[in-house]
Amino acid sequence: MTPALSITATAILAVATKVDIAVFAACVVIVLCGAIGVVVSRNPVHAALFLVLTLFGMAVLFVAQEAHFLAAVQVIVYAGAIVVLFLFVIMLLGVDREENVMAEPLRGQRPLAFLLGAIALAEIFLLAQGTQWATGATQVAGPAGGPGSNVEKLARVIFTRYLLAFEVTSVLLVIAVVGAVVLARRYETTATESPAAAQVEEPQSPRSEAPLSAAPPPAAPDESHPDESHPDESQPAGEPDAAPSGAR
């Protein structure tokens, strides 16, 4: 009984790990293809779409690591908000034309960047091979940190232990919003103050005078209406149209 049960348990576990590894491999392919697409694609719009691919692959990886809330946040905030912001700026600036890759202003910038990235990667792999850290299997017994759903545990930790960091994050977001608005707003009032003020004040002066005196405004439209109708309709029939308006 017990050996058979243990055998079936190990078989189920093996199938589960195989599925996990398959999901991980597929996500690795998606994430890395998207990442390489971001850095090598010439069109910025294509780069943004590759970034969406990368973020979706990472959301699946988060689900595989039992971080369900984080996967949802990844899709909503990153793929839904940040990439849309990128696309907005790309379209707004009209820089969605293809970047001229051949014209390198800095000589050898691209090979040097590739070399630096490869050196960093080689260093990390070398360090990981040399020591025995970071080779443990993740736990398969259940989700991290006791009973309850992922969102529940995350909320409990955020609103107790990391409450100060959470509040500071909200302050940071407010500062970022204010900073973005201040940076991106057009200072037309300060740059061209005197012409704008003059343009604003000139139309306002007749309008401001009109409500003050009650009698002239009804008189002024009556005088202005025939004046406006004359140039509009004087060519086909000027006098017949002017006569009814005068009769009224």
Partner: protein, 99 residues
């Protein structure tokens, strides 16, 4: 599922992002590469959180996402400002503070 799988993936993603930051001259694409780097950090945080059976890694990844959102907002505002002043977002042309 081993921890080092995720660490290697994050390392590769980080290096791809570093290459993008160093090699691209479009400011928007540089910001996208920074997003790749931050995502690599997120993978590491979540993987270590799962490894230590703690939910703190996910909390920090959440904070990283919030900081990334703020960074993208301010960064893209700066990009718009640069484009308005120079009619270009080529980062190699932004050399006003060059000595």
């Amino acid at each position: 599922m081993y921890l080092n799988q995720f660490l290697f993936l994050a390392a590769f993603l980080f290096c791809v992002g570093v290459y993008g930051v160093l090699a691209r001259k479009n400011a928007v694409l540089v910001l996208m590469s920074i997003e790749l780097i931050l995502n690599a950090v997120n993978i590491n945080l979540v993987a270590f959180g799962l490894f230590r059976e703690s939910v703190a890694g996910q909390v920090f990844a959440l904070f990283v996402i919030a900081v990334a959102a703020a960074e993208v907002g301010v960064g893209l505002a700066i990009v718009i400002l640069i484009y308005r002043n120079r009619h270009s977002i080529d980062l190699t042309e932004v050399d006003m503070m060059k000595g």
